[in-house]
């Protein structure tokens, strides 16, 4: 291999390139192709079967005039903020506590990570029962004597989305804790020693030294949490199926319901394109900062 010949570049590592052709094709056809197809058909009035009968942005106009879609977006925002903030904070605190060289660390880690082994459907059902006023927490507390105790988030339109968030946090925090713990273990022991010699209190060491050093771990975690937020669907279906009324609807459910129940593909595609757009708006600036920055540095 002579370094002066440029055309060889294409044929370098030829085996590896041939081997990756299937994946490249999959990515192009399934992901890019499917996305383009969906966006294209969102401008048509397709009903049960896709038809190329363009109606401009009518589907989008209808989408943003639909109360259920607006409720879905609002719920997604609330759910998003809650799961982002709480799973990061709680996950980190749990990890920091486990990091104190405590006894039975393995046991605790297993207990905290266990919920993650359950699917969202199972999680949803478990929490549906726990939060059911007739057999769940409310019933248990009332049987203990506090008869006026009331706790039924899933049956109250104004707080139902928080009831769903509780289940999501219970399920997801364990994983975040493990990621954080791995990050904490990656911090060199000498840093802690140096901080102790300088007399810096532990909470300050965490906040100003350790957390900034864990930036890559935080970014990974953020991506995992964010992807989970946008696609939340099964949890809602299992817990409330969008109820009471439409109080706990989420965008992914709107897409599914309109594509299949309402037999209105155009409307479903328009909604899923909006979801894609929101992801792009979040991801692109971040990717630019993250990867664009590396080149400069």
């Amino acid at each position: 291999m002579s370094k002066s010949e440029r055309p060889n570049q294409l044929f370098r590592n030829l085996n590896a390139k041939v081997a990756s052709i299937p994946m490249i094709l999959t990515a192009l056809v399934v992901f890019v192709g499917g996305t383009a197809w969906t966006v294209l058909y969102s401008f048509t009035n397709s009903k049960l079967l896709p038809r190329l009968n363009f109606v401009g942005i009518d589907q989008y106009y209808r989408l943003w005039a639909t109360p259920r879609w607006l409720v879905s977006i609002e719920n997604l925002l609330i759910y998003g903020v809650i799961s982002l903030v709480f799973s990061l904070v709680v996950g980190f605190i749990l990890a920091a506590l486990l990091d104190q060289k405590i006894r039975f660390e393995d046991t605790f880690r297993t207990i905290f990570l266990y919920p993650f082994a359950l699917s969202f459907i199972v999680t949803g059902l478990v929490w549906q029962w726990l939060l059911n006023p007739d057999f769940g927490i409310q019933r248990v507390v009332r049987d203990l004597g506090w008869t006026s105790f009331s706790f039924d988030p899933l049956y109250n339109s104004s707080i139902v989305i928080y009831g769903i968030s509780i289940a999501a946090l219970w399920q997801g925090t364990g994983l975040i804790m493990c990621l954080m713990l791995a990050g904490l273990r990656g911090i060199d022991e000498d840093i802690w020693k140096a901080a102790r010699v300088d007399g810096i209190p532990m909470w300050k060491t965490y906040l100003f030294i350790v957390i900034p050093m864990m930036r890559p771990v935080f970014i990974t975690t953020l991506v995992i949490i964010a992807a989970g937020i946008v696609k939340v669907y099964d949890l809602v279906v299992a817990q409330t199926s969008g109820g009471p009324g439409i109080a706990s609807e989420v965008p992914a459910k709107y897409v599914y319901d309109y594509m299949f129940f309402a037999q209105n593909l155009g409307q479903g595609f328009a909604a899923s394109t909006m979801m894609l757009l929101s992801v792009v708006i979040v991801i692109v600036p971040w990717a630019y900062l993250e990867f664009g920055g590396k080149k400069r540095g």
Partner: protein, 412 residues
């Protein structure tokens, strides 16, 4: 992709011409009849079909039509069609037929003189697209029923109401006795169906047709429909303590006397029967809510996807005939609580409620149902609106009516 379907459909038509010898053939039939009464009824079909020497492969999909239909449709459009499938006849399968994915049953219908035996005629009309018949109606289901628990009213110390207005008046007494006056489950179609029943009962058949058939949005936003919304508001207040999801759980509240009544189609009757309750003694039924005695001719029908396999196509024909057979019709409908689609069958075994229904049918007091009049898209929008309306006690009547009129304006 459509091209591929059409080719497949064409190939299947060709294959039909070379029908092979009749033999025991497995035919998968999908449906969403899974509650106790429904399962007992569908077993009658399976028994009758097995008796013809073929084999009924039961493809029950749990979770009511809303869950089952997408699965059925994606199987048909995805090239893995079942032998036969349930739909509510009307517009649910319209596009599948137009795309040429469904089998034309006109020949079998002519042979069996369906146009003569099936009544009311509107049932077969709903199966007919461009002059060809594509489905076999198997029963008439009407939504217009108010089911009342005699036990609950006894406990509350008030007589069992004879119409909706008396029922509303009795609600406070029921509540005082710790009984939920009206059970409405959380599934969206229940709220939307209850409203449609109120529209036909309180507003009258003409108002119903003006809104859903002529799609007169101005009328839907007008004072006559405002009365219906007032009644819906009463229903909303009476239903506010129902903490169940599925319709049969809500029916069960009535069966056990925990709820006073439920607005639900006649399929609820199957549940009363399975629970061993007697019409007239344990429960009371009021068709048309006791205000306007009409029944809607919605219902279930079987559609037959085009198949390539000649044996299976043959078996489809046998099944189509079996479904309409007088004996099967009686056995099935008695268990299901619905009315048979043939006028010439003997229904002495029918109970009080079914006899009331048959009498109304004989009088010809029938209206088409929303499944036949509105597209699934409009139905879904309506469901979204009414499930929100029933769950949110602070949603004003004016706002709800305005949104309702908007849906009717854009309905197709």
């Amino acid at each position: 992709m459509r091209y591929k379907f059409l080719t497949a459909a064409f190939a299947a038509t060709v294959a039909l011409n070379f029908a092979g010898p009749a033999a025991a053939t497995d035919l998968e039939v999908t449906h969403w009849w899974t509650s106790g009464g429904e399962a007992a009824a569908v077993a009658e079909f399976a028994k009758a079909f097995d008796a013809t020497g073929n084999h009924w492969v039961d493809g029950a999909i749990a979770g009511s039509g809303g869950t089952a239909r997408p699965i059925m449709i994606s199987r048909i459009t995805g090239g893995d069609p079942m032998g036969a499938t349930q739909f509510n006849h009307g517009r649910q399968a319209e596009e599948l037929v137009q795309a040429g994915l469904m089998r034309d049953l006109t020949d079998i219908a002519t042979k069996g003189k369906w146009t003569e035996v099936v009544r009311p005629k509107s049932l077969l009309d709903s199966c007919t697209i461009d002059g060809k018949i594509y489905c076999v109606p198997v029963n008439i289901h009407s939504w217009q029923w108010l089911w009342l628990s005699n036990e609950a009213f006894q406990k509350a110390g008030v007589p069992v109401p004879k119409n909706w207005d008396e029922f509303v008046a009795a609600a406070p007494a029921l509540e005082k006795a710790g009984i939920i006056p009206l059970a409405v489950g959380g599934q969206p179609w229940q709220a939307s169906g209850a409203f449609d029943v109120l529209l036909a009962a309180v507003g009258g058949s003409d108002a119903f047709l003006k809104v859903y058939k002529e799609k007169d949005a101005k009328f839907a936003g007008g004072p006559e429909i405002a009365k219906v919304f007032k009644a819906a508001d009463d229903a909303r207040k009476m239903a506010k303590n129902t903490n169940v999801q599925d319709w049969n759980q809500a029916t069960n509240l009535v069966i056990t006397g925990k709820a006073g009544g439920q607005i639900m189609g006649d399929w609820a009757q199957g549940e009363f029967q399975v629970a061993g309750k007697t019409a007239g003694k344990d429960y009371t039924c009021l068709p048309g809510l006791g205000l306007n005695e009409v029944i809607a001719t919605g219902g279930d029908a079987f559609y037959f996807p085009l198949l390539k396999d000649a044996d299976k196509s043959k078996a489809q024909e046998v099944l189509a005939e079996t479904l309409l057979d007088p004996k099967t019709q009686v056995a099935f409908n008695l268990k299901k609580g619905s009315l048979p689609v043939r006028g010439d069958v003997d229904l002495n075994a029918a109970n009080d409620c079914m006899k009331k229904g048959l009498a109304i049918l004989a009088k010809g007091a029938v209206i088409p149902w929303t499944d036949q009049l509105l597209s699934q898209d409009s139905q879904k929008q309506k469901e979204d609106l009414f499930s929100e309306f029933f769950a949110k006690s602070d949603m004003t009547l004016e706002e709800a009516q305005k949104r309702f009129a908007d849906i009717i304006a854009s309905a197709d």
